[in-house]
C-alpha cells in the first residue's frame, strides 16, 4: 500500500528548493568566462535595413563581436520553422516566409532583432549596442489585424498577397447553407478576441556554450520542451547534428505556451558561442519580453447561427481572421485552425457547422499558442452566440443550452467538424455547476448587492476541449509535422528506489510530485523513494514537453505503462526466487506473492536480485528498468 499514491494529499516535493531560494532557473546559471548578448531591435514596425555600422561598438575593449542577419545568411543557416502545414481551401500550402533569427534586409515588427552585440559584461553589451548605427528606411506598416485585411494595406511579405498565409475551411458549406434556408431566424454576432501577451514571471533566457574538442553545443534555455528545441535547432535552423546539441531546460518560471517555441535569441546565443569562443548568455528584460515572446489570440470573427423559434439550433457559420504576426511561429497556423474551428460545435447538436479562417500577416510580434490555444477562442464565440440567441428569442439561457446539448444517451456522437465525442454527460455537469454556485439563489444575492449600491452579474458557459496532443494518424493527416510521442524510463536502483525519466517538462505543474504518485501507487512505495528527472536531452531519451494539457494524459500514461513493464520483469525474477510459475505470482502492495500462499518477496528484494544475480532467471533482463 502506498500512503502517497494517486489521489492522496501529498505536499509537493519540489517546494523546498523554491521556498529556500535554491531553485535553479536559466538566469541563475553562469558558465566560466561567459559573455553576454544584447540584441539590437527594430524600433519600427516595418523598415528596410540599409546597413549596420558597428565600428564604434567593436572598438570598445571587451566587445567580442557584433553580428547581423547578413552574417547569418553568409553562414548559410536556416530559419525558424513552422511545425504545422495548413492548406488553403484551394489546396495550396500555407505561405511560409523565411524567419531568420536576425532580420537581414527588412525588419517586420517592433522588436524584430536586427543585430546582436556580444561583450564581456551585460552593461558593456548594452552600452556597445547604443553605439551601433542601423540605417532604417521606415516603411508603411500594417500594425493591426483590422488594417492588414484592408485591400490597400501595406504588405508584410510580397509572396503573401493580401497579407494572407492561408484561406482555410472546415465543415460542409452546402449543408450549412441548406440548414440556414430552414431557419426561422439568423442570429449574428461580431467578436474581437484581442491579442494578449503571455508574460510568464520568469523572462526568457539562454546560456549557450561550444566545446571545440567534442564539436558539440550545450544550451540552457527557458523552454517547455527541450527536445523540441533540440530537434528544430538541429534539423532546421543550425544544422547541428542532433547528438552534438544538448538542450537543458532547468527550473522554468512559468510558460503559458510562450516557452514552447524556438526563438531567435537562443539560436543566436548558440551560434555566437562558437564564434566568440566563450559561452554566451542572454536574459530578456520585461520590456524586451513584450516585443519578443510570442503573443496569443488575436481574432476578428463574424458568426451567424440559424435557429428555429423554439430555440432549436440548426447550423453555425463562422468567418475568422486570425492574426499571425510577422512570421509563422511553431504552432501559429495550427492554433487558429485545427485547435480552434473543430471546437465551434461546442457541446451542441447542429446539422452543420462551417468555418472559414484566414491567417493574416501583420507587422507585429508573431502570434502562437497561448493558454488553451484556439479552444478558448472557439468557446467564447459559441457561448456568446448562445446567449445572443437566448436574448433574441426570449428563451432562458440555461434552458436553451439544455435543449440543444448532446444528451448522454447519444454518445458516441459524431460532430459535424472532425471530432467524435466518445462519452459525456453534459447535463449532469451543468446541474452540478448550477448547484455548486447556488444559481437559484442568485437573484437574492443580486438584490442584496444592489442594496449596497453594487452591480452583480452571473455568466453561464459550457466548455469542451480537445487536449492531450498525442501521436495519431489524424494528427499526421491534418498537417502535424511533429510526432507528439512521449517517453518514460523507470530506472529501479539496487535497493528498490526509483528514478523516473520523463520527456514532459514541469514549469509549475508539480510533476516531481504528481508523477511520483503514479509510480508510488503502482509499486506500492512512497513518493520519497522516487525521483522525477526531466528537462535535459542528455538524460531523457525523447519527449515533446508540456503544453496542451498533454503531460499527464500522454506522459503520465507512458510512465504508467513503463512501470507495468518493470512489474512484469520483476514477476519473472520473483517467480524464479519463489520457485513458482510467473503466472502464479501476483504483485500487490509492493510485494510479489505466490497466489494462495503466504510466500512473499518485497519489490526491493527483487530489484536487488536484478543487480546481484547470483540466483537469477537469465531470460529476464538487467538492468532493472
Amino acid at each position: 500500500m502506498s500512503n502517497t499514491g494517486i489521489g492522496k494529499r501529498v505536499k509537493r516535493k519540489e517546494d523546498r528548493r523554491f521556498l529556500t531560494g535554491k531553485g535553479r532557473y536559466t538566469d541563475d546559471i553562469n558558465l566560466p568566462k561567459q559573455a553576454y548578448a544584447h540584441f539590437i531591435r527594430s524600433p519600427h514596425a516595418h523598415a528596410r535595413i540599409g546597413g549596420v555600422d558597428a565600428k564604434e561598438a567593436l572598438a570598445l575593449p571587451g566587445v567580442l563581436g557584433v553580428y547581423t542577419g547578413a552574417d547569418w545568411v553568409a553562414d548559410q543557416l536556416g530559419g525558424l520553422p513552422c511545425g504545422w502545414l495548413v492548406k488553403s481551401k484551394d489546396g495550396s500550402d500555407q505561405v511560409e516566409p523565411p524567419h531568420l533569427p536576425l532580420a537581414p534586409e527588412v525588419a517586420r515588427h517592433v522588436g524584430d532583432p536586427v543585430a546582436v552585440v556580444i561583450a564581456t559584461s551585460r552593461e558593456l553589451a548594452r552600452e556597445a549596442a547604443s553605439l551601433v548605427e542601423v540605417d532604417y528606411d521606415e516603411q508603411p506598416a500594417s500594425g493591426t489585424l483590422a488594417k492588414a485585411i484592408q485591400s490597400d494595406a501595406p504588405q508584410v511579405w510580397s509572396e503573401a498577397a493580401g497579407n494572407t498565409s492561408f484561406d482555410w475551411e472546415v465543415g460542409d458549406e452546402a449543408a450549412q447553407q441548406a440548414a440556414f434556408a430552414e431557419a426561422d431566424r439568423i442570429v449574428e454576432i461580431d467578436v474581437t478576441n484581442n491579442r494578449v501577451i503571455p508574460n510568464a514571471m520568469e523572462p526568457r533566457a539562454a546560456v549557450a556554450s561550444y566545446d571545440p574538442n567534442a564539436e558539440s553545443y550545450t544550451l540552457y534555455t527557458t523552454s517547455q520542451n527541450p527536445h523540441l528545441i533540440r530537434l528544430l535547432l538541429s534539423a532546421f535552423v543550425m544544422q547541428i547534428p542532433e547528438h552534438k546539441l544538448r538542450v537543458i531546460a532547468p527550473d522554468v518560471g512559468g510558460g503559458f505556451g510562450s516557452k514552447i517555441y524556438p526563438y531567435s535569441e537562443e539560436v543566436v546565443c548558440t551560434w555566437t558561442s562558437k564564434k566568440v569562443g566563450v559561452p554566451v548568455k542572454w536574459t530578456a528584460d520585461r520590456s524586451e519580453a513584450f516585443m519578443s515572446d510570442a503573443h496569443g489570440r488575436g481574432h476578428i470573427t463574424k458568426a451567424q447561427m440559424a435557429v428555429k423559434n423554439d430555440g432549436t439550433m440548426l447550423a453555425l457559420r463562422v468567418e475568422t481572421y486570425a492574426d499571425l504576426g510577422a512570421y509563422l511561429s511553431t504552432f501559429a497556423t495550427a492554433t487558429p485552425t485545427y485547435l480552434y474551428a473543430p471546437l465551434l460545435c461546442g457541446i451542441y447538436k447542429m446539422k452543420a457547422v462551417y468555418a472559414n479562417v484566414k491567417g493574416i500577416f501583420t507587422h507585429t510580434v508573431p502570434v502562437d499558442a497561448y493558454r488553451g490555444a484556439g479552444r478558448p477562442e472557439a468557446t467564447y464565440l459559441v457561448e456568446r452566440m448562445v446567449d445572443k440567441v437566448a436574448s433574441e428569442l426570449g428563451i432562458d439561457r440555461i434552458e436553451l443550452r439544455r435543449k440543444n446539448m448532446i444528451q448522454k444517451d447519444e454518445f458516441p456522437y459524431q460532430t459535424p467538424l472532425i471530432f467524435q465525442f466518445d462519452t459525456g454527460d453534459f447535463e449532469a455537469c451543468l446541474d452540478t455547476a448550477l448547484e455548486a454556485i447556488d444559481f437559484a439563489g442568485f437573484e437574492g444575492r443580486r438584490a442584496e448587492a444592489a442594496g449596497r449600491g453594487m452591480l452583480r452579474g452571473i455568466g453561464v458557459s459550457t466548455y469542451v476541449e480537445a487536449c492531450g496532443l498525442a501521436p495519431s494518424a489524424a494528427a499526421g493527416a491534418l498537417g502535424a509535422r511533429a510526432g507528439l510521442y512521449e517517453s518514460a524510463t523507470i530506472r529501479v536502483h539496487p535497493t528498490g528506489s526509483v528514478t523516473v525519466f520523463t520527456g514532459t517538462h514541469s514549469h509549475g505543474q508539480g510533476h516531481e510530485t504528481a508523477f511520483a504518485q503514479i509510480v508510488a501507487e503502482k509499486l506500492g512505495m512512497e513518493v520519497d523513494n522516487i525521483v522525477i528527472e526531466h528537462g535535459d536531452t542528455e538524460k531523457i531519451p525523447f519527449g515533446m514537453g508540456s503544453y496542451g494539457s498533454r503531460s499527464l494524459s500522454v506522459g503520465g500514461s507512458a510512465i504508467s505503462k513503463a512501470t507495468d513493464k518493470v512489474i512484469e520483469k520483476g514477476r519473472k525474477i520473483a517467480a524464479h526466487l519463489l520457485e513458482a510459475s510467473a503466472d502464479d505470482i501476483e504483485f500487490e502492495g509492493g510485494e510479489y506473492k505466490v497466489k494462495g500462499t503466504d510466500k512473499v518477496l518485497p519489490f526491493g528484494a527483487v530489484a536487488f536480485t536484478a543487480y546481484v544475480p547470483h540466483n537469477y532467471p537469465h531470460e529476464a533482463t538487467a538492468p532493472f528498468s
Binding site: D15, F18, G21, E202, F256
Partner: protein, 162 residues
C-alpha cells in the same frame, strides 16, 4: 569602483561595486544569491523583495552603495538551521506556489507584513500583496498561506522571528 561593507544573511560581506550597481545585482551576480529573482524592469513584480534592516524592499530599486553597514536578509537567509521559517512552511502546507519564480519575493514581503500586523484580515493580505505579481496561483493559496502562518505564529506565541 566603490568598496562597501555590509551584513548579508548574518555574515559580513565586502564587495567592490560600480556606483550604479543595484542591490539585486550585488546579490545575484557578486554573492551568487540567486534566490532573489528579477521579473520586470519597472519595480512592479516584487520577485526581488529582500529585507534591509528588517524591512521589505525591492532590491531592484536600491543602489548597493546605499547599504554601507546595512543588514540584508534574502530568501536564502530565512530558514534557520535547516528549519523552514513558519511562512515558508505555510506556503508548503497550503500549496502557495507553483513555478516558484515569484515565491521568494512573496515570502519575504509577507514575513514583513506579519511583523507589522500579526493578525491581518484577508483584505489586508491582498492589499499588502499589491506589489507582488504571481502568474500561476491566482493568489488564492498565497493568501491562505499567509493567514495560516499568522494563526500559527500567534498560537505558538512566537515573535515573527527572522
Amino acid at each position: 569602483m566603490t568598496r562597501i561593507a555590509l551584513e548579508v544573511n548574518g555574515a559580513p560581506v565586502e564587495a567592490e561595486i560600480e556606483p550604479n550597481t543595484l542591490l539585486v545585482q550585488l546579490l545575484r551576480e557578486k554573492l551568487d544569491l540567486t534566490g532573489t529573482h528579477v521579473g520586470c524592469d519597472t519595480s512592479q513584480c516584487g520577485a526581488c523583495v529582500v529585507h534591509v534592516d528588517g524591512q521589505s524592499v525591492k532590491s531592484c530599486s536600491v543602489l548597493a552603495v546605499e547599504l554601507e553597514g546595512a543588514k540584508v536578509t534574502t530568501i536564502e537567509g530565512l530558514a534557520e538551521s535547516g528549519e523552514l521559517h513558519p511562512m515558508q512552511q505555510a506556503f508548503h502546507e497550503e500549496h502557495g506556489l507553483q513555478c516558484g519564480y515569484c515565491t521568494p519575493g512573496v515570502v519575504m514581503s509577507t514575513v514583513d507584513l506579519l511583523k507589522r500586523n500579526d493578525s491581518p484580515s484577508e483584505h489586508e493580505v491582498r492589499a499588502w500583496l499589491e506589489g507582488n505579481i504571481c502568474r500561476c496561483t491566482g493568489y488564492h493559496n498565497i493568501v491562505k498561506a499567509v493567514l495560516s502562518c499568522a494563526d500559527k505564529m500567534k498560537a505558538g506565541g512566537a515573535a515573527a522571528a527572522e
